[in-house]
Amino acid sequence: MLTRMKSAVANFMGGIMAGSSGSDHSNGSELPMRFPYVRPEFLGLSQDEIECSADHIARPILILKETKRLPWSTGYAEVINAGKSTHNEDQASCEVMIVKKKTGVQSTPNKTSSNKRRSSLPNGEGLQLKESTEVDGITFQYWALFDGHAGAGAAVVASKLLHHHIVEQLQDVVDILKNSAVLPPTCLGEDPETTSANSRTLTRAASLRGAAGAPGSPSTPQTRFFTEKKVPHECLVIGALENAFKEMDLQIERERSAYSISGGCTALIVVYLLGKIYVANAGDSRAIIIRNGEIIPMSSEFTPETERQRLQYLVSPTKEALVHLFLNIFLAYKTIEEDDLKFPLIYGEGKKARVMATIGVTRGLGDHDLKVHDSNIYIKPFLSSVPEVRVYDLLQYEHGADDVLVLATDGLWDVLLNEEVSEAVTNFLACCDPDDPHRYTLAAQDLVMRARGVLKDRGWRISNDRLGSGDDISVYVIPLIHGNKLT
């Protein structure tokens, strides 16, 4: 525990000294890292433990030890890849954040939100805060997974900063959201028509301009905005999340002149705010809800294949040839990466669509300097940082202890079907002591184990002698029953 404490201090100092920590590498041309390489803060790993965990041969499954560290008794487990990159390029973060109305003073996301973070409380108890207990703020729970490619830089930066951008974006609409919050929770999630429409509507444009935060009238209903179109408050949250992703991407773009922020990353986040779960996804991670054995997909993947239409539209229909070229470039790129693999044994056969981490995704953050192999063509214009956001009304259902939201990076989904994941989780939890505080983490560990498999003579193998995942794998298992308890 002492070593853990020391390492926590070291990590903290490392964070502050981020600029200097990378100075070893700076030989004039190289920039310092924005943040040093880390594993998720909530795992509480020392430097030695991080070193041990980066074992590509035994591939230890890391799990959340302190169950109180995450809200809702969330479970978490992860494993490093089989050798395709030195580091585990997945990142995760989980926070409970408070949004307060912006004060008159202009402030950066970093500064405004640093004092709103509750996770820094010593024992993590702060994470168990009841919703909306703050006098003038709204609390939200936040879970995030980032899958980095071509370096861990962008994923680390996003895991440290994206939630602050979300706070920043929500600040603009916090007053409106709060007005609905004071209504009885049974009304939440109902059609906005059932409540006073005047107090809850405003145009999206107005909200984006920040009109909602008009000073001096926090208690005045927003009557000025009952205009042409009604916007339910969940759309405000969706807009805020979309903007937060865009702002995060822009920040990475800006800061890459001063820091080395390598590669890019996918981002899958969950926000629980005022009775609703928002799942925002850019990339090929996936979220599903397993409710009473039924699977409810909460995201879709963005890959060259699934985004053909957007790309086509992007280049305009007349330039279809360019789209073809682009798609071919993607495929060519993957092939090259595959050849570069250090452990072909593990990847070499029965290739599923899972190709190398590089750029098999069309949405995500970072990648500003990525060029088509052996050319001067930037890929960034084809990529989008805008997530798809889906909403789930948590209060509409009575959830049992085994109803969960599973979030995982593609390392899991490449080798396991939704149905297999659902069956595994359902069976696992059914056999697990309902009072075991570790049950969701153990379920996450079980999923990682099923996807990683065991190392045999012919590589990592899972059930039915199928090929296991050689990729980084990260999994959250979030019990939904805790959402019900909060209200």
């Binding site: 030695d48 035994a58 230890p60 499954i61 487990a77 990159s85 065991v454």
Partner: protein
Amino acid sequence: MAYAYLFKYIIIGDTGVGKSCLLLQFTDKRFQPVHDLTIGVEFGARMITIDGKQIKLQIWDTAGQESFRSITRSYYRGAAGALLVYDITRRDTFNHLTTWLEDARQHSNSNMVIMLIANKSDLESRREVKKEEGEAFAREHGLIFMETSAKTASNVEEAFINTAKEIYEKIQEGVFDINNEANGIKIGPQNPMPGPTGPHNAGQAGGSCC
């Protein structure tokens, strides 16, 4: 910190025999009477000196419970040393040694050094397994043997260090292929005995960027 070699260890044995306490005593020099059940795997590390060389021990502490057995098994690979622990006050933990040993032999590399540890030697009044029985089992299976107490720290240093000495000797004898990381040995940056790639490159053996 710079080291000449890094050895990877794994600690195995039934639940409750004191695996985590042995690790804590070795890395932090303290005893924790009540310890949370280990689920999955935990890590510890410490630097020791053998033959004037700095050696870093990287120790994997595993879950002893039956339900985690398949996960634990998957961690044998790539270990240079194993501490197989039983509790002298619980005969069943001694009876299960054969199963543990079979598991270890089957899933590890054949040169892995195994130290048999009879823990809780401070609880003499509750002893169920005689020291001679442990010694006999070790002799029969070619293991090193030691009685320890994680509580009083008796023989704990020796258990970890003697295992390292045995591995070190095997390296000197050329039994271990030290350039193959699957053997649980890494060459550090300050190794005075350069391998074919030279000391500098060898230090980065674990890493290559992509």
